[in-house]
Symmetry: D2
Subunit: 283 residues, 4 copies
């Protein structure tokens, strides 16, 4: 069923819900889901509302025109999304393919509602699985000397494909600002620790050394501050002294798959709002 | 902060939210929280909306009068709750006091916002802890021969104290319909299994015999069908072959405390709606 | 590193560990892992002991000869496994391929140390992924009329391939005794519920109808009693009223993958002992 | 049942288990539980072995004499514990009593097998509950000016009571080295975060600010490096944008109770071995 999704973030004031609900009602919206959140301390209001387009009397353009006055009066930041629009995805991957294979299967069965337009890797390993799924694969090796140039080529590919979302599916290179700033809140990474514990390289090694009793994984939006972007999802699993480093890495793969795919699903279904450096997830 | 809470359950139709939001806005409500749920398949709409009473221009009685026409037009089942009203609680307990001690501490620090008016037990064990908290304690032994009589005395005590909520905090007697039907959706039990697995007596023994790898606990409303009432909350914990029956019982106590207290908190803050034999929890 | 693994199950008596440890020590075993479990109530002793074969002075045949007297004196049920021997695996699958794709990736990266010798399905869906991994694929449709005949062909294929382990990776047919009894404790199934809750068909539908707050998955050995075989692993995930049936199915897939793959890993590394209808997992 | 518990930590070498098992067998030990762990990388061996004293022919003193040669030959660090010896416990607490109330109930029902000899607090709040349990209560206010003097009085009390284990049950003062060094590996603290994330003061505030999706609690041994001692146990619970700071604190209390009490139970039953700054838990 084709639906419209309205995402709103504004100062909290009386009458917001009444205005929005009245507007949608007047135009024949059959509401399917609505979620709202008020941060009473910060005085901030968040809303996600989804309605069936069948019977709704506004097109995308007239919606914008007619809703704008309401939005203005409440100082809303807002956007309208259409469930029928399938975002275009680029997946970046290095040697380990467990997240990639997982994401591709999920898109194949339409659990993730987006189209993987291309796969970019600094290694050749993923070439076969990309071919199996019929997805263009670009091997772009990276060294510190070639990084900026290599990224320029990546940007060309991303732009040529009209990419909406970049997924770093265990991509072991740090993106430089020229990419990050071009895709604000549109690059999702999975970090293999329970952030903010064990930022940076080799988090399983660090967790093993510290002797933690649970290991974690975190999916987050990428910003120029490494591992400091807004957290989308986290999960943990129990380990014991019987688990050696290799066991942590193996158990961690199961976490990474799940934590990354949940983040991607919520992003693709427009369930994520921002809140300083935090996220609101309307799941 | 004193607040009003409106709980609504009705057939899903266009315009419900607009009507409610408009009504509250017109009377000066400053909305603190709002949650709604639509079951598109069943065509049912659920809402919980909470607003500050400060600045709201309707008292309880006039709210009822003025909201009733809206309620009627949408065929709503609804109720209004006031956060300032502290429900009166009766706790039933048998020998094991872990849930009782836990609930009493939570009420003492006002984590659970209700007043424990009395404790009823078929054993004397809890007498001291009741006295420590200054709560009337009634030892009412039960045998199959005396059950109906004993329950009559319990009903007198419950009515004399004006009890709103009965908590069965590991009370090992089955209530007969004369009590259950007097307190519909107002008796919460904790069952020491992951329902619907292991209904009835000695669920840890049954779990141990079956060789499950997780044990659970379930809090639910009590109906005349044993262990079949609407589930409010469940949780599980991992066990292994190293855990003997006594370990299951000990690990289970930690589950029971948490699962029961969450249910009580949600009930006391009017976060639970019903849905056939299911619950909607607006947490 | 090549290792020997000794698995023992016997009545609990003084001197067992001393005898085994002394035997291994005398033959130069460098012990890598040892786990034991005593069920004091049942008076039963279980042990898994793994040692490096380098420097160990017994071959497989002489081990059997020389260990047999000790085994006899303690009435042991025992077996010797060699880590170098890679079990041959058959995967049965129906339409849903999430477990299959997951298992194939895990064997590809050698996380699961076995060789998938063939894939059998009552549908054609998995043909492409089998080909991608270079694994023989056999489509064998099943109807109630053709079942016994179809299974006979399956048995021929299993025997021709010398299969050690059968994995039912969301195979929606019930195996008849002619297969089950040929592979005792060597057929692993994943059931999409937290057993013993929701046995039989359509467990997610049943869980949804009952209004549980957690859904689960269970991997177990297959016996002739449907869903009653020894449980190997279970896990759960939280759901809420916001989750519709499709969400349960989607969340369940993540559970099924993890719960099934853990069971397979433990089986392949000889970590599972039996105990009436229960398992001891030396993880 | 009275039992002996032998805890061993030594370089890994062939013949250790054979020697120990033979020694115990010769003296008539009926082994109840045995756990061992080998860190193959570090070349370290750990063992916990528990046996019934009934029928065992060595007293404590002769055990030490006769086991010492074996211990020496394998360079063991070892100790013998007797389950019949009940450790004496001091609980330190500040204003929040949830962990204290929980620990006292667990000792009351003998889930925790130790005797609480005294409660020390820098506030008066816990006086009543201490009296209810008949445990000496000492209010010892602390300011930075009086800290060393106050601690001297605490040390006198601890020594007068012959305390074996100190539990910091949400004690909001940092112990100075004069106490910490007197009770090495015998002071257990609960920190209200998932260490090493959010060390130091106000971890829930920090977690809330960072926007994590899970909060945690950690029990650990206290060393002079704040929040850096060996971790014993950790657990987490899920939060969402709907949880305000107060909800984190409330949910955290449930974690703290469980995580602290598990650590205390393992300590009291001699299940914890050390390993650099890490722990081995033979649960």
């Amino acid at each position: 069923m084709s639906s419209g999704i309205l995402l709103i973030d504004c100062p909290d004031r009386r009458g917001i819900v009444a205005s929005i609900a009245q507007f949608l009602y007047e135009h024949g919206a059959n509401i399917l889901h609505a979620d709202q959140h008020q941060d009473n301390e910060a005085g901030r209001f968040f809303m996600r509302i989804e309605w069936a387009l069948e019977g709704f009397d506004l097109g995308e353009k007239s919606f914008v025109e007619q809703f704008e006055p309401i939005a203005k009066s409440f100082q809303m930041e807002w956007r309208l999304e259409l469930s029928a629009t399938r975002p275009k995805i680029a997946i970046f991957v290095s040697r380990d393919q467990h997240c990639l294979v997982d994401l591709l299967y999920r898109t194949q069965i339409d659990e993730l509602k987006g189209d993987v337009a291309l796969i970019i890797s600094n290694h050749a390993n993923a070439k076969a699985v990309a071919a199996f799924h019929g997805i263009p694969f670009h091997e772009i090796p990276i060294t510190s000397a070639t990084k900026l140039e290599a990224e320029k080529r990546e940007i060309e590919l991303l732009e040529a494909a009209g990419v909406d979302l970049i997924i770093l599916a265990r991509y072991m290179q740090i993106l430089s600002p020229q990419i990050v700033e071009r895709y604000p809140r549109r690059i999702i990474n999975v970090h293999h620790s329970f952030l903010p514990a064990f930022t940076g390289a080799r988090p399983y090694h660090a967790a093993f050394a510290r002797g933690v009793k649970l290991i974690g994984a975190t999916s987050h939006y990428v910003t120029n501050d490494l591992d400091e972007g807004p957290i989308i999802e986290q999960d943990v699993t129990r380990i014991s002294h019987r688990d050696q480093l290799q066991d942590l890495i193996q158990k961690g793969r199961d976490l990474e798959r799940v934590v990354l795919s949940r983040a991607v699903r919520w992003h693709l279904t427009h369930r994520i709002l921002f809140y300083g450096n935090k996220t609101v997830i309307f799941d």
